[in-house]
Each structure stands twice: as structure tokens, then as C-alpha cells.
């Protein structure tokens, strides 16, 4: 029993250590080597590299952002990519939409030629296959769902975890009868057991979210409650008089969203709310019959104002937000008040914060988890040995 306890403690320590590492601290540096092909596997399916083309879902959008950061030299003030594709550290060598993307090092990049000669990105790989490929040394860098980070670490995989910078929230669709009753929205918000979601579904690979900004960004996240208040929710439902019925839409291709939606169904039932989950592949807008949707909002910037403005801009039309975003140069208090206003409307219910988790292969060196406004730092990594 003591050995088992020791092994468990070691695994936990490893996860924590890697998290710290992924929080911005680089590995001890060694002399980098040029050459090699970095093999990357992602779960998203990117059909178009054109930044102007709309993504089918939020997962694809996030992947496009990462790939765009490799192809373009810089960003504009509004966050869009500037320059032409290939002006960044890499250029496109091969492109099979939705399947495979090969990037070649751009020797003329102003920031310097990347250490690796090329990057091959396989798209649409399932999480289990990605992790397996990493274990079998068929991949060098893979995306790992936050809920599987713990298990991967326990199996000895190098896991890199960023600061939680992706918010998963429930957004009520404006104009829907269920969404128009504030008591229904508040009752649902009070019924949700966020810690259980983080502990069980995310396997502690995230943080409960009470507000629209993470603690490490705004510093005021702790002011937003994340605990469930089932009696309060039941009281609100009793005021309504009849069991509210809500249809919650989610991306049927996202297992995390599905698990969260199923848990929300169970929590809502405790409060007397009849909530049914409806998986759909219709993209961010979701099916017209949904009263609410699970949304994933990536922080484009670590700065709280920019992040809040992005959140409000992303979901404002969906929820019919009437509040104005914080103005340029707003103080922390002002930002907090705007955030509070949005959260207290219960038109958007924050659930959890997700980090970006990557599995890093044994030969990858100088990898560091990207920040909220950063893409993959593939230009800075190098490979210890050539790939077979």
C-alpha cells in the first residue's frame, strides 16, 4: 500500500511539475540543432488556411489560429494576421485540406530560421490515437484533451499544460422563451456543480469558472462563486411554477462538451429543470431548436480587458448582450464591473477554464507551453535526433 501511495504521489508531482514547466518556464537549454521534421498531430480538421474563411467550429478556429501563427509574420492591432502566408517562420510545402499540412522552414523569416526543417501536421486524429502515436514515437507533438492529461502523465508522457485560457460556458440564445426568463437562467447557474466537473470530467485538468476571466488574468475570478446552490435553484424554479424545459446544444464531435452537457442535465434535474442535451455538428450557431449552447472561448490575449472584449464580442450577438465592453484604458475595477454585469445577467454561465495541453515527444527540446495570445512556438523547438 505504501508503494502504491508513493507511486501515486510521484505521478501527481510529475503532473504538477510539468504544469509549472508549461506555465512559461523553459527546459534547461542545450545547444540546439538544426534539421529534422517535427511531427505534429491535432484533433481539429482544418479545411481552409485562409484566415478570412469562417471555421466550422471553435476547435477548427483555434487550430487555424495556431497554424496561422506559423505562417504569418505578425498580427494587426485587431489580432488578424498581417502579411502573406509564408512570411512567418514557415511556409506551406504541402496542403491536403482537412488531412495533412506540411510546412517548410522559412529561411527568410525576420525572426530567424526555425531549427527544424519542416513540420508535418496530421489533422483529425482522435485523442487516443494521438497519445498512442506519441507513446510509440510516431509523433513529436500532440494535442491532448485536458481531461486526458492526467492519465497521459500517469503513463509517463511528457505533458505540457498552459495557463487555463479557454472558457467553456453555457450561452443562452437570445429570443428563446426559456432564455428570456432570468429565473430559469439563474436557477440553472445555481444548480451547476463546477468543482465536480473539474474533478471528474476534467480530471482536475482545469479550473472552475465563475467569471469570464481567469484568476491569473484578472485577479478577481475568486469573487465569482463556483459552488452549486441547489436549494436556491429549487426556490427559483418553484417561483416559476412549472418545470422549465431547456434544450442545450453542444458539438457532437467534442467529447468534452458532451460530457459537460450530460453533467449539466443531471445537475439541472436536481433543481427541477428539464434540460435535454442535443448534440449537433452545425457549427457555432447550432441548431435553431436550442435554447442554450455550450461555447468555447479562447482568450486572444492575457490582458483582461482585451480578453473580456473578445468574449463579449464573440457571444454578444448570440445572447443579446446589452452591456458595452470596457473602454480602452479601463481600470481593473471597471473591467470587473463589466464582467460582473455580464455574469449576473446569467445569459452566459461560465463553467470551466481549460488549459492547452500538449504531449511532447522525447526528442523535442526547448518546448514551452504557449501563452494566451501565443501560438505553438515551433520556430524555437529543435529535435534531439533525426526522425527515423
Amino acid at each position: 500500500m505504501s508503494r502504491r501511495l508513493a507511486a501515486s504521489s510521484a505521478a501527481l508531482g510529475l503532473v504538477l511539475g510539468l504544469t509549472l514547466v508549461g506555465a512559461g518556464r523553459a527546459e534547461p537549454s542545450r545547444r540546439p540543432k538544426y534539421g529534422g521534421t517535427l511531427r505534429v498531430e491535432i484533433g481539429a480538421i482544418v479545411n481552409s488556411l485562409d484566415p478570412a474563411a469562417a471555421a466550422a467550429n471553435q476547435v477548427e478556429a483555434a487550430a487555424k489560429e495556431k497554424i496561422g501563427a506559423l505562417l504569418y509574420e505578425r498580427r494587426n492591432a485587431d489580432g488578424t494576421f498581417a502579411g502573406t502566408a509564408g512570411s512567418g517562420p514557415f511556409r506551406i510545402a504541402e496542403w491536403e485540406p482537412g488531412k495533412h499540412l506540411a510546412l517548410a522552414a522559412n529561411t527568410g523569416f525576420v525572426g530567424g530560421r526555425p531549427f527544424v526543417d519542416s513540420v508535418e501536421i496530421q489533422m483529425g486524429r482522435a485523442a487516443r490515437d494521438r497519445v498512442l502515436d506519441l507513446e510509440l514515437d510516431k509523433a513529436d507533438l500532440v494535442e491532448i484533451p485536458p481531461e486526458e492529461a492526467r492519465g497521459a502523465a500517469e503513463r509517463g508522457i511528457r505533458v505540457s499544460t498552459s495557463q487555463p485560457d479557454e472558457l467553456v460556458a453555457v450561452a443562452f440564445v437570445a429570443g428563446r422563451p426559456a432564455a428570456d426568463d432570468a429565473r430559469v437562467r439563474e436557477a440553472l447557474a445555481r444548480s451547476l456543480d463546477r468543482p465536480a466537473m473539474v474533478n471528474f470530467i476534467l480530471q482536475r485538468g482545469g479550473d472552475p469558472a465563475g467569471g469570464l476571466l481567469p484568476q491569473w488574468s484578472s485577479g478577481t475570478a475568486f469573487l465569482f462563486s463556483t459552488a452549486a446552490d441547489v436549494p436556491g435553484a429549487e426556490e427559483l424554479v418553484s417561483q416559476i411554477g412549472h418545470p422549465p424545459q431547456i434544450v442545450l446544444g453542444y458539438d457532437s464531435g467534442d467529447s468534452l462538451e458532451q460530457s459537460l452537457a450530460e453533467r449539466i442535465v443531471v445537475n439541472a434535474r436536481d433543481a427541477g429543470i428539464r434540460l435535454t442535451g442535443q448534440g449537433s455538428s452545425e457549427g457555432p450557431s447550432g441548431p435553431a431548436s436550442c435554447d442554450a449552447r455550450l461555447v468555447r472561448l479562447r482568450m486572444p490575449s492575457p490582458h483582461p480587458r482585451a480578453a473580456l472584449v473578445n468574449v463579449m464580442g464573440a457571444i454578444g450577438p448570440l445572447i443579446g448582450l446589452q452591456l458595452a465592453p470596457p473602454a480602452e484604458g479601463a481600470s481593473a475595477q471597471q473591467i470587473y464591473e463589466v464582467e460582473r454585469g455580464v455574469v449576473d445577467s446569467y445569459r452566459v454561465i461560465p463553467l470551466v477554464w481549460l488549459p492547452q495541453v500538449s504531449g511532447v515527444g522525447a526528442r523535442v527540446r526547448d518546448w514551452k507551453a504557449p501563452a494566451a495570445d501565443e501560438g505553438w512556438p515551433l520556430a524555437d523547438v529543435w529535435l534531439e535526433q533525426e526522425s527515423p
Binding site: R4, R150, I201, Q203, R204, E262, V266
Partner: protein
């Protein structure tokens, strides 16, 4: 309906009833036998299900126990027994373990009843399953039925609970199989049988909860009443459902309630057995029975027919003999065979006919003697009148010769005149007797009575409107389509002419002479009516007696001739009369040929030109609706041959 037909019907009905009873009995017994067999079949299947169910319970129990015995589960229990154990690590374990052990339901439940991991509802981690903790030791209970909450709604499962105890902490493994269409598919059913499962998961009957191997059952609402009965009183039950108007579509069901640990109804297993083959077999047997009944009936009909004919043959002979006697064949006799009642009856009949024949002979002889006496009396009376003046005249002659010779010449001439006159009178009297005695035998031929009547009326037309006498208006009511009769047209004319003459004599002040012909009851009838003074009842009684007359002149033989002609044609004549109104004569002649009467007394021997017809006196007087007496003359029995005579007034 003849006696033979009645007997035949009785035999046939008796046979039909007997055969039908047997056939119905066979069908009923067969049906009961099939019902018993069917019930035994169903009971055997139910017993098979119960055995299978017990086996499955044991199997589920073993598999759950097997999970509890695995190292992974033991390690889980050890981990969870520690303070502040991290249960989240195991949140996804139930899915993999349930798949590897082929269980539909699997929950890992902590010592406090909170769900660690759930296969059927993964999101329910952390929620309580308190009922698991209420039982200290689950091992003796084995597997049981219970309602299971799943992500997709409630279900019924065959569940078992195993416990892994570490220190004072328990780890509960709750696993089981879903009771549904897959469970039904695992049952081995013989051909023609099927199993249905109703899952009692809702407050009211839900058609979608009734499943067979392929899913929800069509026309499930037909089962609603029986399911409701099970919900109120869960107990084994049998019932039948007729899916269409065809009896072969019937399906017999054996309902077996499925109850949980608290004896609550969780489902109903319905074992159905198609009645198609049974009904088909019953129908074949019924057809066979009907065939046997038909053959038996046919055979019985033939046998009944032969038997009835044989039994009724003596009766027929008896009836035939009686009919012949009725028609005048006094020599008719019935064969006497055997020694039963019918034979004795036949023998008695023959004896009776013999006696009647002898009595009739004696009666005829007596009537003949009476007739002769009457004739002699009439003859004596008629002859006496002219004989007296003859005698007187001769005596006058002798007296004149002796006493007044000078006047003798004168007296002689006068007396001879008287003598010749009276002798002429005598000759006339004798002539009329001779005519009556010489009535010819009718020569039958088809005759249309309407034509005869028309001819006679035409003949008398001139007399009806004769100058110097009040007119007589003839009225003819002759039925169209009157059938021809077998008759002697001349004799018939003579008879009708006599009636017409009588009617004319009865209407000296004129009136209406009506002649009507009709056809009824096999007879052709002629009515001759006048509007004269009418007759008294006494006159009607003696009307047809020869030499009876109500007129100052006439021999009194006219109606006697009419009666004789009618009798010779096998008919009858009657008269109705009312004083002051008129008189009607009705003649009825058979439409069939008149039969020659045989075996009656021979004609009376008489002088060659006088052969009076001995007639039977009027036998009965009947009252008609007119309130008057009616004299009915019956047939004469003699056959005469005489030269044709013309009608004479009565």
C-alpha cells in the same frame, strides 16, 4: 304431406340429430384437447423461461462477483478506503469494465452510497445510490429485478450487487443486464410462439414499452387491458387476442409478472402461441366431421326413404283400396301380408268392404223394389184416369143398344170418339214412360259448357221476347277459360233446356233468367236462376221425384231427366229457392272424366219400352245462406239406354 313423407322426415331428423350430436361432440372434445395441449405447451415454455431466468440471474451474479474479485477493483477499494481518496480517478472505469464483462449496467458505489463511476449514466458521478448501502450483505440475495435510471430514461435490469470491503469501508459493485429485446432474442422459442416483454416504467400503459425481439410491438394497445390487470393484481394469467375476424388469427398468451425485490411490478413477460395451426387442424377435423355427417346423412336419407316406403307400403295399399271403394270399385281389396297391426287392419278393411258391398246390394235391391212399387203406383194412377171414361163409354154403348136402339147410332158415334180420345191419352202416357225408361247412356267427349249455354240461349231468344208474353231477360255470366268437361253434349243440352223451360214457366210475368258458369274445386258448375214466384221447402224436397209437378200440365219427368243426366255425368244438382224471389238450380260436373260406376245393381228388367230409372230418394236437405231449403240430388246408380228425347217441362 303424405304419411310416407312424414315418416321419412322423422327418420331423417332423428338421424341428423344423432349424427350432429356426435359431430359436435367430436369437435368439442378435440378443441378441449387442443386447448389442453396448448396450455401445456405454454406452461412448458414459461417453465423454460423461468429456468432461463434463474440461470441468467446466476450468471449476472457471477459476473458481478467476478468484477469484484478483480485486482483492479480490489485496488480501487483499497484506494478509496484511504482518507481523502481521490475518487475522480475512477470516474471512467465502469465503462471499460462493463464492456469487458458484457454487462449493460455497472456502477461503482462508494461506502457512503455516492456513485464513483457509472456505465449507464456516466454523468451521475457523485450522486447517491443509497439503496445499495441499506443491505449489509448482498451475497445471499443473488440477482434481482429492479428499475434502473439511465441517461436515456428508466429501464429494467437484472442486477446483482457485490461488495468489496476494506477496513470499515465498502466498495459496491452494482451490475446487471438490461431486460429488453436483446433479452427476448436470447430465448429459444419453438415455431409459432413468441415472447413479448412489457416494461412497467410509466404510470400508465405505454404502447412503446411493449417489446418483442425486434423492438416495439405493433398493435400494442390490444394488450392494454391485460397489462392493466397485471398492474392491479400481478399474477400469472392467460388470455387470447383475436387479431382479425378470422379465428385462425387468434393468439393465446400466458402472462408472467416480473416483480422486484419489494414485489413491485417491473414488467410482464407475455408468451404467445399462435392458434393458426390449431384452428386449421380444428377446421380440418370439423370439415371431416361435416363430411362424415354429410355421408351419414345421405346414407340415412336413402335408408330412411327405403324404410319409410317399406313401412308405409301397407298403409298406401290400404289408402288406395279405400280410395277405390270411394270411387265405386266395391271389388277393391287390400293384400294382407304379415301378422302385424297393419295386416290386421288390412284384413279388417277387406271384411268391412265385403260387408258394405253386401249391404249395398241389399239396399239397392230394396230401393229397386221400392222404385218398382212407386212406378206401379204412378202407372196405376195415370192409367186409372183414362180407363174410367173408357169403361163408362162402353157401358153407355151397351145401354144405348139395349134401351135406346133408335139413339144407338148417335151414341155409337159419340162413344167411339170418346174411346179414341182416351186411347190416345193412354198412348201418350205409355209413350212418356217409355221415353223416360229409355234414357240413353251418355257418350262422353270434351265439351265446352259455355258454348252449350250460349247455344241454348240463342235457341230460346225468340221465346224470351215472344209477342203476347212479358219479356224474359237472359243474363250470362260465363267464366272465361272454363275447362272442358267430359260430357254427352246432347244429353247436357236436353237437361239445360229443361231447366230453361222450367224457369220460363216459373216467370209468367217476365223476369230475369240468369245463367252462370264457374270453375272451382275441380268442378265446373252451372247455375240457372229465375226471378219467379219461388218454391216452398216441401216442393224443393220432391222436385226431382219422377212425375212430381207443380204445373197443371206436364208429366213431372223433366227434372228427373235432368237429375238422371247429371248423375250419369258423375255430377250433382241442387236447388235453392225463396218465395217471391226466385229459384236457382246448381249443377256441378267434374272437370275430370266422369267415372262409370261398376259393381252396382243391374238395370231393372221391364217391358221393352219402359225402363224406369230407380232413383235414390233425396237423401238430405241442406239449408243455404239464403235461408231456404236446398235439395241436393245425389248420383243415380243405373245406366240406361234409351232413344234421345227432348226436354220436358217438370
Amino acid at each position: 304431406m303424405t304419411f310416407r313423407t312424414k315418416l321419412f322426415v322423422v327418420f331423417t331428423v332423428a338421424l341428423l340429430l344423432s349424427v350432429s350430436v356426435v359431430a359436435v361432440g367430436v369437435i368439442v372434445v378435440t378443441r378441449r384437447a387442443f386447448d389442453t395441449l396448448n396450455r401445456q405447451h405454454s406452461e412448458a415454455l414459461v417453465a423454460q423461461f423461468e429456468r432461463e431466468f434463474e440461470r441468467r440471474k446466476q450468471d449476472v451474479d457471477n459476473r458481478v462477483q467476478g468484477i469484484a474479485d478483480t485486482e483492479a477493483t480490489v485496488r480501487m477499494a483499497i484506494d478509496l478506503s484511504r482518507p481523502k481518496a481521490d475518487v475522480s480517478v475512477y470516474v471512467n472505469d465502469a465503462r471499460g469494465v462493463s464492456q469487458s464483462h458484457q454487462l449493460d449496467f455497472l456502477d461503482f458505489v462508494a461506502s457512503d452510497g455516492s456513485i464513483i463511476s457509472s456505465n449507464e449514466w456516466p454523468a451521475r458521478f457523485g450522486y447517491k445510490m443509497d439503496w445499495v448501502t441499506l443491505t449489509e450483505d448482498w451475497a445471499p440475495l443473488g440477482a434481482f429485478l429492479t428499475k434502473v435510471d439511465t441517461q436515456d430514461g428508466p429501464a429494467v435490469g437484472l442486477m446483482a450487487v457485490s461488495t468489496v470491503r476494506v477496513g470499515d469501508k465498502n466498495l459496491y459493485i452494482v451490475g446487471g443486464e438490461r431486460l429488453g429485446k436483446d433479452f427476448l432474442a436470447s430465448l429459444v422459442l419453438p415455431a409459432g410462439m413468441r415472447a413479448l416483454l412489457y416494461l412497467d416504467l410509466d404510470p400508465n400503459f405505454q404502447a412503446t414499452n411493449l417489446l418483442d425481439q425486434s423492438g416495439p410491438v405493433t398493435q400494442a394497445e390490444r394488450f392494454a387491458p391485460f397489462i392493466e390487470q397485471q398492474r392491479s393484481v400481478p399474477q400469472p394469467q392467460t388470455f387470447k387476442i383475436l387479431w382479425s375476424t378470422d379465428a385462425a388469427s387468434a393468439e393465446a398468451f400466458h402472462a408472467l409478472p416480473l416483480v422486484g425485490r419489494e414485489k413491485e411490478l417491473l414488467g410482464v413477460l407475455l408468451v404467445g402461441s399462435s392458434q393458426q395451426e390449431v384452428v386449421a387442424l380444428e377446421r380440418r377435423i370439423a370439415l371431416l366431421a361435416l363430411g362424415v355427417v354429410g355421408m351419414g346423412l345421405l346414407f340415412g336419407l336413402l335408408l330412411s326413404w327405403w324404410g319409410a316406403a317399406r313401412v308405409t307400403r301397407p298403409v298406401r295399399r290400404l289408402s288406395e283400396g279405400a280410395r277405390e271403394v270411394t270411387e265405386g270399385n266395391w271389388s277393391a281389396r287390400v293384400d294382407v301380408r304379415g301378422r302385424d297391426e297393419l295386416s290386421r287392419l288390412s284384413s279388417a278393411f277387406n271384411q268391412m268392404v265385403e260387408q258394405l258391398s253386401e249391404q249395398r246390394e241389399r239396399l239397392v235391391q230394396a230401393e229397386r223394389v221400392a222404385a218398382w212399387r212407386e212406378l206401379a203406383r204412378r202407372l196405376a194412377h195415370e192409367l186409372k184416369n183414362p180407363l174410367f171414361p173408357l169403361q163408362t163409354t162402353v157401358e153407355n154403348l151397351r145401354r144405348a143398344k139395349e134401351q135406346r136402339p133408335d139413339q144407338f147410332e148417335e151414341v155409337f158415334h159419340e162413344s167411339t170418339g170418346i174411346l179414341l180420345s182416351e186411347i190416345e191419352n193412354l198412348k201418350k202416357i205409355v209413350g212418356r214412360f217409355s221415353d223416360f225408361a229409355r234414357m240413353p247412356q251418355p257418350e262422353l267427349a270434351p265439351v265446352n259448357l259455355n258454348d252449350v249455354v250460349r247455344d241454348i240461349v240463342k235457341l230460346f231468344e225468340a221465346q224470351f221476347g215472344a209477342v203476347g208474353r212479358p219479356p224474359i231477360t237472359p243474363e250470362l255470366h260465363l267464366e272465361e277459360g272454363l275447362p272442358t268437361i267430359q260430357a254427352d253434349a246432347a244429353l247436357l243440352r236436353r237437361a239445360i233446356e229443361n231447366l230453361v223451360l222450367n224457369a220460363m214457366d216459373a216467370m209468367p210475368a217476365g223476369g230475369v233468367l240468369m245463367l252462370r258458369t264457374t270453375h272451382e274445386s275441380g268442378d265446373v258448375s252451372l247455375e240457372v236462376s229465375d226471378t219467379g214466384a219461388g218454391l216452398t221447402p216441401e216442393e224443393c224436397q220432391r222436385l226431382f221425384t219422377p212425375y212430381y209437378t207443380t204445373k197443371q200440365h206436364g208429366t213431372g219427368l223433366g227434372l228427373a231427366i235432368v237429375q238422371s243426366v247429371v248423375s250419369d255425368h258423375g255430377g250433382r244438382i241442387s236447388v235453392e229457392s225463396e218465395s217471391g224471389v226466385g229459384t236457382s238450380f246448381h249443377i256441378y260436373l267434374p272437370a275430370r272424366p266422369a267415372q262409370q260406376t261398376v259393381g252396382v245393381s243391374t238395370p231393372i228388367s221391364a217391358p221393352e219400352d219402359v225402363s224406369p230409372a230407380p232413383v235414390r230418394p233425396v237423401e238430405s236437405a241442406e239449408r243455404t245462406g239464403r235461408g231456404d231449403t236446398v235439395a241436393t240430388a245425389t248420383e243415380t246408380e243405373d245406366v240406361h239406354s234409351a232413344p234421345e228425347t227432348h226436354g220436358e217441362g217438370a
